[in-house]
Amino acid sequence: MPAPELETRAREFAASASDRLNRTVTHGVRLSAVITPNGTMILGCGVTPRNFEPRCIPLTLGQKRPSAFLWLAYVLKMDPEQRYLAVAKSSFNLYLDADLEQMVFHYDYERAPAHGYPPAHFQVAGDARELSAIAEERGYSRKQLKDFHFPVGGRRYRPSLEDVIEFLVLEDIADAREDWSDVIQEGRTDWEDKQLRAAVRRNPEAALAQLREDGVI
C-alpha cells in the first residue's frame, strides 16, 4: 500500500481512538502514530520514530488529580490482502501511577503471541487466596494472581477500548462526561461491525450458509 494511504489509515485510527477517549474519560489526549519501513504501525500517546513506548494517559476530565492512568498501545498492520488495517497487537493497561510502577490490570491481544497463552487475555494485580492455593499445590509456589492469563473472547471477540472505558466508568474508577454512554455505544457498533465483516471474510461459507438459512439470499 502506498505510504500516503497508510498515513491516512493510521491517522484515522488514532483520531478515532483519541476522540473516543476525550468524549468519555480523558481531556485533550491526542494519540500519534509511527509507520515503520516494513509497514508496521505503532500507535499510542506520544510515540515518535525513535520512541515507540507510549506515555500514560491521565484519567481526568480537567485539572483534577487523575484517578488512575491508562497506558494503551496498538500495533497495526495491513491484512494479508492489503485491503484493511488490522490490529496485530493491542494493550489496555490501568496503573495507579504514570511511571508504570503500580499495575492494576491489563487487557492484551496479540494475533501471533510468542507464548502459549490465549491471544486475548486479561491479567490483574492483587491476591487470590484460592488460586494461589491451587498453584502452590501444583508446584508453583511463587505464582501470583497477576501471573494468570484469563482468556477474554479470543481473537475476534476480544474486549475493545470501549469495553474498557465502560468498565472504568461503571466501576467509578474514572469520571465521565455526560454522554459517555452514547459515545461508547457508537464506538461499539462500529467495532462489532468491523469484527463481523472480518469474520465473514475469513469464513464466507458459514456466512453464506446462515444467510441462505434465513432466506436472505
Binding site: A3, E7, A10, R11, E12, A14, A15, S16, S18, D19, R30, L31, S32, A33, V34, I35, T36, P37, N38, T40, I42, G44, V47, T48, P49, R50, N51, F52, E53, P54, W71, A73, V75, A88, K89, S91, N93, Y95, L100, E101, M103, H106, D108, P113, A114, H115, Y117, D147, H149
Partner: protein, 65 residues
C-alpha cells in the same frame, strides 16, 4: 472529530535507523538485554511493567527469522 482535529493527529515515518534506536531505547529503559526480554516474553512473565511494555512495542521488529 472535526477534519482539522483529524489532520492534527501526528503520523511520522521511521527509518531503519530510527527503529534500531527505538528498540535500543526500550531495552535500556527496561534494563534488559534482548535475549533476556525475549525469554521473559516466551514465558509471558516479565520482571517489570517496563519490560512488558517494552516487549509490546519492540516485538514486531525483533522476531526471530
Amino acid at each position: 472529530m472535526t477534519p482539522e482535529e483529524v489532520a492534527a493527529i501526528e503520523v511520522q515515518f521511521a527509518s531503519e535507523e530510527d527503529v534500531t534506536e527505538a528498540v535500543g531505547s526500550a531495552l535500556t529503559r527496561a534494563g534488559l538485554t534482548l535475549e533476556q526480554l525475549r525469554e521473559q516474553a516466551r514465558q509471558s512473565r516479565f520482571s517489570s511493567e517496563r519490560a512488558r511494555t517494552a516487549w509490546f512495542v519492540i516485538s514486531p521488529f525483533v522476531a526471530r527469522a
